[in-house]
Symmetry: C2
Subunit: 219 residues, 2 copies
């Protein structure tokens, strides 16, 4: 599946894919890749759905991923792609330098996080970097990442537990086998409210389902 290899001397061909809804940027990136010896662009998708459908067949070495996509967020897409293609490295390429987005992208499995104002040369550097086990990110981003780790002191896996009391309560009931509907009845709040809380819980815990939330909750 890996497309890299030594041909004759020491040519390492790196396959890429692009997930980016803006056609202009997609074109620019594709061209940059095509023009660079040693790089090849296997696929360019304009949304997450296509990415999740097509990329497993291509199994690129690296995916350049936008965050703002029309269907799923690039973070969701990253998380799912990583499940399907654990060896593929994902490089986030976005305008957002929001703390939480950066953190979540890396948590979702991204290997790097570049801001869109990054120059072509730096992008190519980042690709090389990533192939060599690096984690390229714009300097602004790197600082934020360091800061975020300071907050989660004691290092270790970036854990959670900033849940509100109500959220804890609901997660607790879920962990005791209650369905959302039953939780609503038990707490005398609407089913929709329970769902609202659940969505916030998922977001804070970086999970996507009751099953995963419960798994995190029971440690």
């Amino acid at each position: 599946m890996r497309r890299e290899r030594k041909a004759g001397g020491n040519v390492m061909l790196t396959s890429l894919a692009i997930v980016e809804d803006n056609a202009a940027i997609r074109g620019t990136l594709g061209q940059l890749i095509a023009e660079t010896p040693g790089l090849t662009c296997l696929c360019a998708c304009e949304n997450a759905r296509d990415a999740l459908r097509l990329l497993p067949k291509h199994a690129p070495d690296i995916v350049i991923m936008d965050i703002q996509l029309p269907d799923l967020s690039g973070i969701e897409c990253t998380r799912r792609l990583k499940r399907l293609l654990p060896q593929t490295q994902i490089l986030i390429f976005t305008v957002y330098e929001d703390n939480d987005l950066i953190f979540r992208a890396l948590e979702a499995g991204a290997s790097g996080y570049l801001l869109k104002r990054t120059s072509s040369a730096e992008i190519l550097d980042a690709i090389t970097d990533i192939r060599h086990g690096g984690a390229p990110m714009s300097s602004e981003v790197a600082r934020k990442v360091v800061q975020s780790f300071r907050k989660n002191e004691a290092a270790g896996p970036p854990e959670m537990r900033q849940l509100s009391a109500r959220e804890e309560e609901i997660l607790g009931l879920l962990t005791r086998g209650y369905t959302p509907k039953e939780i609503g009845e038990k707490l005398s709040i609407s089913y929709e409210t329970v769902r609202s809380h659940l969505k916030h819980i998922y977001e804070k815990l970086h999970v996507r389902s009751q099953t995963e939330a419960v798994l995190k909750a029971v440690h």
Copy 2:
């Protein structure tokens, strides 16, 4: 909510509901109840859906439940009703004397298990019995229940773990956060097969969702 009370001397009014798809049996039971002093029939449903919708409003003391229903099985219906009305006692009334059905009905929260060939007098006895904390069952059923407990020696809660290797494997992946779809991909089997296994797992573990299955699996 409880409708029982002492009126004047020592009259204890017991409210009943019937869940039975056969109109003739429903009528017979309703009449039997109506004719008996101290008993009142609040509601007669012909399917599980109606039962789950209407009975929480009536909150009967006892529900007489058939197993063969057009939509959900009476066992499923029992399980769900018990969640909504923990204080309501459920009396299974069926032709099936299948071991597993009996076990599952009791596990789902039924308080008694009568075979349909039971006489009217015995049904009334069973209702009295149940109100006094008993667990009435036809003698054939009682024997089977005792036998089933012999199998699950060491007493305790009737536990599981008769899962096949494949089922264990799938439950294991679920417990590691994989979705059914991802499990199919990982094991190179179809999504439908994974779902099939999951349904069998649910049945064996007496649960109704991924969340609950995972909870049982992680102890």
